[in-house]
Assembly symmetry: C2
Homo-oligomer: 196 residues x 2
Amino acid sequence: MEALKKAIQEKGTVLPGGVLKVNSFLNHQIDTGLMIEIGKEFAHRFNDCGITKVITIESSGIAPSFFAAHELNAPLVFARKKKSLTLQDNLYTSSVYSFTKQETSEITVAKEFLHEDDTVLIIDDFLANGQAALGLVDVVKQAGATVAGIGIVIEKSFQPGREKLESAGYRVESLARIESLDNESVTFLQKDAVHS
Amino acid sequence: MEALKKAIQEKGTVLPGGVLKVNSFLNHQIDTGLMIEIGKEFAHRFNDCGITKVITIESSGIAPSFFAAHELNAPLVFARKKKSLTLQDNLYTSSVYSFTKQETSEITVAKEFLHEDDTVLIIDDFLANGQAALGLVDVVKQAGATVAGIGIVIEKSFQPGREKLESAGYRVESLARIESLDNESVTFLQKDAVHS
């Protein structure tokens, strides 16, 4: 998706160690116009899948998934993220390990908002090691619902997230695929050109 | 705002102790159509204020402020909320005490996203004791920016939040004002009829 790649190139910052900061339009300050275009693109890619619910994780997943849910005419549910949790009967929970933060969070979705007849589109802002997406998949499966696919805003294609998700049988649609963050610059994957 | 009041009446749940749960359309599952109407209403009410930035707090503030920022053609910034914080030079921070959770959080906004020439609309999902709104006001003032007003989705008018904010000189626009949650039912403030 060209507008997204342009924003990453022009407004993103690559920190040493392969960290991409997109605080100025996605993670802290939000470019709502770009988020609407991102949402529409997800909706377009999953338009024929019979999506009944879009699920993401707070907080950075909310803006890019908002318009996807709206266009697909499905409610948006954002999983809550907590460092630790007293187990509660009315919640689906899954543990998500963050390599960046080196800590485990519990993500939770209230059982009342996810049912076995749901067909779910999972959306997240980043895909790196796939832990967050796998946590959301786990929650959807606990409900007995169907995962239609996983929509990612920015994929770090040099990390194993996509491979893990595809090996497990899930369709992954990433709007920007990054081949490398070496030398503090962004190189996009060329073979993604067909989708961009 | 009638559509919001209808959603509160039909989908909200009043728990003992005056807690209003709106998990099914605002705080966990999101009704994007309603959030767009809410955003448009905020934009309409603050349309002539020269807003250059909309600020809210993660996570529940993001959805209702998204379209307000979009219609006002201003970036949306969501303050991050953390239990404790190592002070950092590049952040504005303020302490917010939650009476519900009985704990203090630090809210933070990166200095690069808030400037002294900004005219800011603050939006939050709930107004009860006013602590979160006052924390956001504090952050805006640290930047030397101007607070144009405070937009609230659901105001608990039987708690002192609005009075505190108005006493401090701020304009408060609430889309639903609740007079009472007694007897586990919702009573809206009648004098708000002119705005609804």
